[in-house]
């Protein structure tokens, strides 16, 4: 299988879907110029600026506009340059895109993909680094995806574009230049399925996006110490694949959830609640969360490092979980 970066995988998913389906249009700030990281580079040359549409910096209206275009038969992919700016578009996303299918009693469909990038990559501060996926999972009608590998990025972005619901596709900027194998065939992945990346039988580590790497690193170190950890890559934040997590819990009886978003009301809280609802008698210790502290993201490098969760915190949580008894 050929190797691609996460960014290449995004770009090829977009190009392949635009070739396959003439109703797929891209919208966003600077998308016709390739965007700040090159995710849409070259697409305006191939598909023209009619289909790769630069928008003014009006996130709220552009979110509504693409929702309206989806109602009227297009299959738009709108890019919000940083997830921090999705705050400006929350009215249209939450009140219209997410609800119009339901409120209309099924008369309207919103086949809309919202691409956003997120995460901490080095001193960008509180307005260009957040992880806001948990907010979005609180909204019925939205699907929320957060891939960790180039292959998942490609397969899930294609699935998002083909889905008839609004899907928020979150790309962690720190993963953009990571490489991975990409299947050559047109591989559309199912939405709502987690993936067991490493088998183990003593503890389950559920991680998403940027935290999958540190989780795998921690599992490798634990193996050297004779502790067998299973690593589950969540991939889909809404809908949540609770079945895979519960099956793993039944095997290991201990669960740790790892995310880069702040701990309070993060997706880890939802997973912990679901695990105790579905597998209470299988647990040997409380579900623990490894997450960022409840603070805005500081810009200075030293404070940012102190803020960012990682392998060491995961190892510490594993020790606490096992020490519990």
């Amino acid at each position: 299988m050929p190797e691609q970066t996460f960014l290449d995988a995004i770009r090829s998913a977009l190009a392949e879907e635009m070739r396959r389906d003439l109703s797929v249009y891209l919208f966003g700030e600077d998308v016709a110029l390739g965007g700040p990281f090159g995710a849409t580079k070259g697409l305006a040359d191939e598909f023209g600026t009619n289909r790769v549409v630069n928008t003014p910096i009006s996130e709220g209206t552009v979110m509504g506009l693409t929702t309206g275009a989806a109602i009227a038969g297009l299959r738009p992919v709108v890019e919000i340059m940083f997830i921090d700016f999705i705050t400006l578009a929350m009215d249209q996303l939450v009140n219209h895109a997410a609800k119009l299918h339901y409120m209309s009693g099924g008369q309207l469909r919103i086949p809309l993909t919202i691409r956003v990038q997120c995460g901490i990559t080095g001193a960008m501060g509180a307005h260009h680094s957040q992880s806001l996926e948990a907010w979005l999972t609180h909204v019925p009608g939205l699907k929320v995806l957060m891939p960790a590998t180039p292959a998942d990025a490609k397969g899930l972005l294609k699935a998002a574009i083909r889905d008839d619901n609004p899907v928020v596709f979150i790309e962690h900027r720190g993963l953009y230049w990571t490489k991975g194998e990409i299947p050559e065939k047109d591989d559309v992945l199912p939405i709502g399925k987690a993936k067991v990346l490493r088998q183990g039988d003593q503890i389950t580590i559920v991680a998403l996006a940027s935290m999958v790497g540190p989780a795998l690193g921690a599992a490798a170190e634990l193996a050297e110490q004779g502790i067998s950890a299973e690593v589950v890559d969540l991939r889909s934040v809404s809908p949540l694949d609770i079945e895979t997590i519960v099956n793993s819990t039944k095997k290991t009886s201990r669960v740790i959830v790892v995310h880069e978003a702040v701990r309070q009301s993060g997706i880890g809280a939802e997973i912990a609640a679901l695990v105790q609802e579905h597998a209470f008698y299988h647990l040997d210790s409380p579900v623990l969360r490894v997450a960022a502290p409840f603070a805005p993201i500081p810009a200075g490098r030293s404070l940012e490092s102190a803020f960012l969760p990682g392998k060491n915190l995961i190892l510490e949580a594993v020790r606490r979980s096992i020490a519990f008894g």
Binding site: P56, S58, G60, G64, N95, L100, H101, N165
Partner: protein
């Protein structure tokens, strides 16, 4: 010179009466608690809805606001299904999930109302974008009130519509009050059409209680959009004769004001004009009112005798 053929205004008057009768009945049902929730009536503003919608094609995209029973009915929405929706019944347009503020009647081109002031303006832009790409002369139109004119979405949308020359008509129903507050307390800009000029959009301000004036302005706007000559903005000066919502005593308005508005009742004005031109006599006009009120009575009976949606439907249609 060929004799100018007058359009047949009787069906338009009938449609205005249908809206009036529908909303007056809805008001009664609301007072009897047969209809719950928030009910925003457009009584007094019927000339805008009918004047505009009577000129659209079936494949145009019409968007409303929170006060949009009239817009939906003006596109030809079924009164039974609409009344049932207001009453939360299974037979309503949205199966009881939408209600008064979230009407969708896709079959007649009424795409959606909204509970968020100004919220549908960007949606209309998107439909206009799709229409422009399809190149079949379709257009999008969005109705909103003067209260939306101070929202960010309004200004961003005017800018993009102008920038991309989208076939969208902005119809501002300036009824002078944003919820409970007069427009003058929210902005120094007296005529919202001035904003359209800022964004280089052709705009006109008309007497929104004059069916004929609304139609004339809309016809010009529609011609522009159909020929892919960019967006248009029509500001209709009108009055809402009720409070912001049913139950609002509207103490912020003078009684004398209301009496003045009643003289400008858009339905009475059409009737006076038809009489003057000898296009209709009292008998014909009275029959229109009687017939539409009877239709609305039947719609209310249909709605109130319809089943409630079953509880399992709470979680259906969250996703496609």
């Amino acid at each position: 010179m060929a004799k100018k053929v007058l359009p047949d205004f009787i069906p338009l008057l009938r449609r205005m009466w249908l809206i009036r009768a529908f909303e007056e009945k809805a008001s009664l049902l609301y007072a009897e608690r047969q209809i719950a929730g928030l009910l925003h009536l457009s009584i007094g503003q019927e000339a805008v809805a009918v004047g505009a919608c009577s000129l659209f094609r079936k494949d145009d995209y019409v968007f409303g606001g929170h006060r949009s029973h009239g817009h939906a009915l003006a596109t030809g929405a079924d009164i039974n299904k609409l009344m049932a929706e207001l009453a939360g019944r299974a037979t309503g347009y949205c199966g009881g999930k939408g209600g008064s503020m979230h009407i969708v009647a896709k079959e007649t081109g009424f795409i959606t109302a909204t509970g968020v002031v100004g919220g549908t303006i960007p949606l209309a832009l998107g439909a206009a974008f799709a229409a422009k790409e399809r190149k079949k002369g379709q257009l999008a139109v969005v109705f909103f009130g003067d209260g939306a004119g101070q929202a960010g979405a309004f200004h961003e949308s005017l800018n993009i519509a102008s920038l991309w020359q989208l076939p969208v008509i902005f119809v501002c129903e300036n009824n002078g009050y944003a919820e409970f507050t007069p427009l003058s307390a929210h902005t120094k800009v007296e005529r919202l059409a001035q904003h359209a000029q800022t964004y280089a959009i052709a705009a006109s301000t008309v007497d929104g209680n004059d069916l004929f004036a609304v139609r004339e302005a809309m016809a010009r706007a529609i011609k522009k959009c159909r020929n892919d000559k960019g967006p248009a903005f029509v500001e209709c000066l009108t009055h809402r004769m009720r409070g912001h919502y049913e139950g609002d005593p509207a103490k912020y308005r003078e009684l004398s004001q209301l009496a003045e508005w009643k003289k400008q009742d858009p339905i009475a004005r059409v009737e006076r004009a038809l009489r003057k031109k000898k296009l209709a006599n009292s008998q014909v006009l009275e029959a229109i009112e009687t017939e539409t009120r009877a239709l609305v009575e039947k719609a209310a009976e249909f709605a109130l005798s319809s089943p409630w949606p079953s509880a399992e439907n709470v979680e259906s249609m969250v996703y496609v």
